[in-house]
Symmetry: C2
Subunit: 115 residues, 2 copies
């Protein structure tokens, strides 16, 4: 295989932040590489987060005060553990509401009979 691709579906654009926040909400603290692996497993390979997308996204969330970072050294290798701040937890709730709303709206559009 080659490096690492996201799904060819463009729909995932804009959902990376929601995914990161939700995983951190469930797992207390995680490091970047761990997130990519977790997503791969949870989605049965459907979704492969690229490093070029993930790391800038984590840095942005940290800059916005939604994540705290804590550096650790394990097996002589660097790890950056991220965890939600208080604001991060609040924002997670918002993002999950937005996702639920998005799904509802899209279903109203593609299946108006059920709306």
């Amino acid at each position: 295989m080659y490096i690492c691709f996201m799904s060819n579906s463009k729909l995932y654009k804009g959902s990376l932040t929601t995914i990161i926040l939700k995983l951190l909400n469930e797992n207390d603290k995680m490091y970047g590489y761990e997130i990519t692996q977790k997503v791969k497993v949870l989605t049965k390979g459907e979704l492969n987060i690229t490093e070029g997308a993930l790391y800038p996204a984590l840095h942005k969330l940290e800059a916005e005060g939604l994540l705290d970072v804590e550096v650790a050294k394990v097996d002589n290798r660097l790890r950056k553990y991220y965890k939600l701040t208080e604001n991060g937890t609040k924002e997670t709730v918002n993002k999950l509401e937005e996702l639920a709303e998005y799904i509802k709206t899209m279903q109203a559009l593609v299946n108006p009979k059920l709306a």
Copy 2:
């Protein structure tokens, strides 16, 4: 009010093409402005497609051979009616499958218990 905004949720990024194709699949032929109004009604105002997003998207779909265009003059005003080509109809099926897959994947991520 001001001009016209899409929802502040970033999740809609990447779903405009799917929306357009699905609406044209249901309505045979539609013009741009009609699409914006239809989306507004169907989503109860949740989603307002901006012209800056819509028109380039329509032009792109036409260039890709997924849409045919037919110009009409109604009440002395221009209208460009778009309809699906044969390939456009095929692509609509793909896009709707991708949407269903996306929703399934995201639910596996945010609600792993139900996966």
